[in-house]
């Protein structure tokens, strides 16, 4: 067992610091997914796969054309915007149909999402094979030391970028007219439409923006993690753990950030102390346990 000697304390502090950085990046994905879930009233199951699409766009540009990973972000934003638009366009038909049938539950939407995930995943496998890949810019391994802590430049830049996007999102959703309209749709779609909000249009915009945000996070996370076409789902599990822990969207961006930090800490600790083969199992078990303990989110937040 590890004792708390000064060196170990330093080691743990470094784990804490790294979790803060990874948590910051994770919370960008989590905020996007929570927003989409808020307006759609259903979990966006292909979110992880869309993220992987964003990652591969960056990866191809970086490895084939030598473009700086941060410069590829606009393109992965646009690609995922288009992918999300396509998914949303077909989904409208599904929900229109399933309302006309006797079945009121969203099961057809879930089936549709499963089909989309499977399609994107296998398309990526065919295009890029299953070899695990990662984006390693030349400055990626340089270490920036902040006091006693060390962090690679790439990670730190990703952290700053995601903090920046979180702040932009916060400003949009609290200060602008659009943000207020979206929050009203999340609160009560019927009441919002009575008040004159174009609910369908808003839902579409938020869905597409959420997908684009996932693509951006994919480009960023590519510099931190190693991905293969199947990692989308594992990552989705991590992000859903964050959402469940941060109360299913009821605690806003700050709550999501704290949730991401806790999940990233658990992930980092299990990466450090478990055998590599069991790391995936620990991610899955964490989600299962969280879902069983808090079926309506931590503290029973509204879904």
């Amino acid at each position: 067992m590890i004792l708390f000697t000064p060196e170990n304390l330093f080691f743990f502090l470094n784990i804490l610091f790294n979790s803060l950085i990874v948590g910051g990046i994770l919370s960008t994905v989590a905020v996007g997914l929570t927003l989409v879930m808020g307006v759609l009233r259903i979990l966006n199951l292909p979110h992880g796969e869309i993220l992987i699409v964003g990652f591969y766009v960056s990866y191809i540009l970086f490895s084939q054309f030598g473009v700086d990973p941060f410069a590829t972000i606009p393109l992965s934003f646009i690609t995922c915007l288009l992918v999300g638009g396509g998914i949303y366009y077909l989904m409208r038909k599904v929900s229109a149909r399933s309302k006309s049938t006797a079945v009121g539950t969203g099961i057809y939407q879930i089936l549709y999402f499963m089909g989309v995930s499977s399609l994107i995943q296998n398309l990526v496998v065919i295009l890029f094979s299953v070899t695990p890949r990662s984006i390693n810019p030349s400055y990626g391994l340089n270490i920036l030391s902040i006091g006693p802590f060390g962090v690679s430049y790439a990670r730190f830049a990703c952290f700053i970028f995601s903090l920046f996007s979180l702040i932009v999102l916060y400003v949009i959703f609290t200060k602008t007219y659009f943000g207020v309209a979206v929050r009203s749709v999340i609160e009560d779609a019927d009441a919002a439409s009575i008040m004159g909000a174009n609910v369908n249009k808003l839902v579409g915009i938020v869905y597409v923006l959420g997908c684009a945000l996932a693509g951006v996070s994919g480009s960023l996370l590519g510099m931190v993690y190693i991905f293969n076409p199947y990692s989308g789902m594992t990552l989705l599990f991590t992000v859903i753990s964050v959402i469940v822990l941060s109360g299913m969207g009821s605690r806003g961006i700050a709550g999501t950030f704290i949730g991401s930090f806790i999940i990233a800490l658990i992930a980092n600790l299990s990466n450090t102390f478990l055998t590599p083969g069991l790391v995936q199992a620990s991610t899955y078990t964490l989600l299962l346990v969280l879902l069983i303990l808090f079926p309506k989110g931590f503290g029973g937040g509204r879904a």
Binding site: L90, V94, T105, I110, M114, Y284
Partner: protein, 306 residues
């Protein structure tokens, strides 16, 4: 009277299939796998079709049943035909342990259920006694023969179809259907939602475990990449949706169409196989959400006539 005769004739043909196919083991195996798929999707149809709970992680039960069957057959030297029932009971125990997951709403249930085969896969992959990535294999015993599997599969399919048919007519089945339509409303009318879902879940888990044992015995091995593949869930979804989700005929019709089509695609375009299934699932859900049974054929014919 007429209907009864036709049914008897059909039954006789079904029973005599091994006589015709005994010299064509390839086609015989295809027929056996077809029966396996129909039975598996009929088992899933109880919780997924009748109660409309999108439990996609069936691979967990399937793989657990297969592993237990093969492991017990190897360690205790019992015939696999006995241990596959124990595999079903083991799946049942697993279902009881993870049953709190049924409290989740549909989309979280779908994602939560996917963690179960994932966890089992990782544990299996890292455990020596379960053979890690190579899985465990057994030698064929005296009973191992294709007609045995055919009749076993036929009995399992028949039993599952009968159970589903009776369930649909029963009080319990009506409760499940009510939950499937609107869970909150069902709870408000006094139905004990969790216990009904729990019973349906146990039924599905038990039969999926037995069928996992059947599959393991047929393949004489349990491989983690095969039995714990999340793809099983998508296949079963597709089968039930094609035929008509929540109906007795759904898995039979859907199973036949899906299995033959997927087999054809698999041997023609080896790599694109899974891609086609994704496209297929999207198309079916978007254009024929109620499956083949739900299509208004009269309307289509009258449109074609002009």
């Amino acid at each position: 009277m007429q209907v009864k005769n036709i049914l008897l004739l059909f039954l006789a043909v079904l029973l005599l299939v091994p006589v015709f196919l005994s010299h064509a083991p390839y086609y015989f195996r295809i027929i056996i796998m077809l029966l396996f798929y129909i039975a598996l999707s009929q088992a899933w149809n109880i919780v997924g079709g009748l109660a409309r709970q999108p439990f996609i992680g069936v691979a967990g039960f399937l793989g657990f049943g297969a592993y237990m069957t093969i492991l017990l057959a190897k360690l205790l030297l019992l015939p696999p035909i006995l241990t596959m029932w124990i595999g079903g009971v083991c799946s049942l125990a697993l279902a009881v342990i993870i049953s709190p997951i049924l409290k989740l709403r549909a989309d979280f249930l779908a994602i939560g259920s996917l963690t179960i085969p994932g966890i089992l896969y990782s544990i299996t992959y890292n455990s020596e006694i379960l053979g890690s990535c190579n899985g465990i294999a057994i030698n064929p015993d005296i009973l191992y023969s294709l007609p045995l599997f055919y009749y076993l599969g036929l009995i399992l399919t028949g039993v599952l179809c009968y159970i589903f048919y009776r369930l649909q007519k029963s009080d319990f089945g009506l409760r499940l259907a009510a939950i499937g339509c609107d869970q909150d409303l069902a709870e408000a009318t006094g139905i004990s939602v969790f216990s009904a879902k729990f019973m349906a879940f146990l039924l599905t888990a038990f039969f999926t475990g037995i069928l996992g044992g059947f599959y393991g015995y047929l393949m004489l091995a349990a491989l983690p990449d095969d039995v714990y593949n999340l793809f099983w869930g998508i296949q079963l979804l597709l089968i039930c949706v094609i035929g008509g989700i929540g109906t007795v005929y759904g898995p039979i019709i859907g199973g036949a169409i899906f299995f033959l089509a997927s087999h054809f695609i698999q041997i023609t375009f080896v790599e694109l196989h899974k891609l086609f299934l994704g496209i297929f699932l999207i198309m079916v859900v978007v254009f024929f959400p109620e499956g083949i049974i739900g299509i208004d054929w009269k309307k289509i014919f009258s449109k074609l006539k002009g």
